[in-house]
Amino acid sequence: MSNVICMELHRMFRTRSFYITIALCAVSVFLMTFMIAPMINGSQQTNEVGDVTIYTTVDFSDFLVCPVSFCGELIRSLCGMFLVIFVGCFTGVFYTNGFCKNVINQVKHRGYFQVGKVVCILIYTTVLLAISAGTAILFGRLMINSFTFSYMGEFAKFLLGQWCLLTVVGLFAAFVTELFGSKIPAIVYILLVSSNLMQGILSVVDGKLSKWLSMEIMLEKWLPSLYQPSFSLDAPDVSGNNRALFYALVPSLIFFILYNIAGAALITKRDVK
């Protein structure tokens, strides 16, 4: 098993998508900070409507700008997307280029490859979150006047919860990629989720189901949109509420086990093409 893990780690660090996705995520965080910073700093904004110029002053003086409130919003919206793109590329190429034929029977159990994938996803998620959070904090501190390093404990809990959820997202993406033999379904799904289009699609499905089945009361509890997995943790408030972390850890553990079993079963039972 250690040989397989070494091979997968070596492959991951030789993969361009590892560096490109992390770099793009960091750049995206920087750009969003760059766009948001002037608003938070309370600068005067000008809008021109025809020949009339409207001046507005946006006051964010009551908004506490700290890592957990500022960085949390940036991270939760961006990291999932880049993670799935990387996992789709990394997992998919092992099968699409046929390299799996060379190695899949060189180990006692094919399930070792699932373990190798899990280790890679854990490490990638850690690096992605660390660099994204670091970028957000660094440029937040540089660009936002009122940025403070307060509630760092809350921020650490938030990162831990987000790390758990993102790991599960990565495993889900790996499973979907292996199931369909292509990275496209996983990437399309996460793009729909990230852009909130998935919620819109599910709402349409809810409406159709309610109309066809005419059982609105029953369907209140069974509408598909209620069960869409949430792959990002709401940035917690600063009151020290640990419930958000709990709600991240427990489903993460459950889905971690489920996706690993499903992924190992898939790799073990299916013929290699």
Binding site: N3, V4, C6, M7, H10, R11, R14, R16, V93, N97, G98, F99, C100, K101, N102, V103, I104, N105, Q106, V107, K108, H109, K269, D271, V272
Partner: protein, 304 residues
Amino acid sequence: METILKTNLLTKQFKQQKAVDGVSLQIERGAIYGLIGRNGAGKTTFLRMVAGLARPTSGEIELMGIHSTERGISDAFERVGCLIEQPGVYKNMSAFENCKLKAICCGVYSKEYVEEKLALVGLRDVGKKTVGNFSLGMKQRLGIALALIGEPDLLILDEPINGLDPQGIIEVRDIIQTINRERNMTILISSHILEELSKIATHYGIIHNGRLIEQISSEELMDKCAAKLVIVTDTPEKACMVLDDFGDVAYKVADKQTIYLSNHLDDAADINMALSRAGVAVQSIGKKNESLEDYFIGLIHKAN
């Protein structure tokens, strides 16, 4: 002689179609076994099952003495190296990096080991050139190098000379002969280019529509395809007595009516006269010279 691979009624069914239908064969250590068949005959599917990449629908595989139902079968599959269809390589990595990955997975990595494998297949000097820029022949050779990593006992090559130019074919042939000769490695190779296979194979298995229709050694095949004089008569015993008196005639009784002569090929008239004088009724006598293609096509027609 140790049996490396034995299959018993191996079958693979995809929905309504049987891609491999009850194939039973045996390969001894050190042999180069050529699996011949048309496109779609079931060669690749059979090789994938033997390499452990596909599960048989029914039947058994015994690999290096370990039965497919035993727990240790995964140990046996570890001793198989394969190149099935296209070589599976990372195009953005060099040949060395690709081999390094497999060597790490097998737990045998060292720089010298990988370089030795690349030198064996003639890829020592490609440097950092990525595989995406390789020619087809170079990719095939890299595929063979990858299959050799881990020192397999059985090497499975699925149409390794497909799409190669004559120079490439010669190079791959030389590699196969070298590893068989120097390392006593058993090789199972599939092809539909009979002429090439005849230069290296020691045994043949002919697959048609998923079924193994014949197994034959290269000596037997050469014997069957060699030029010969064919005598068809109802009394072969009497004919043999005449042939014994004729001189140093090398003959073989093929069946109840047919005798093959491997010499005196130009003496058909004299032999016919001798047989007639002895009262042997000859239905036909003539020279037969069968090419490999003719032999295999004849087999396939019979199977149809």
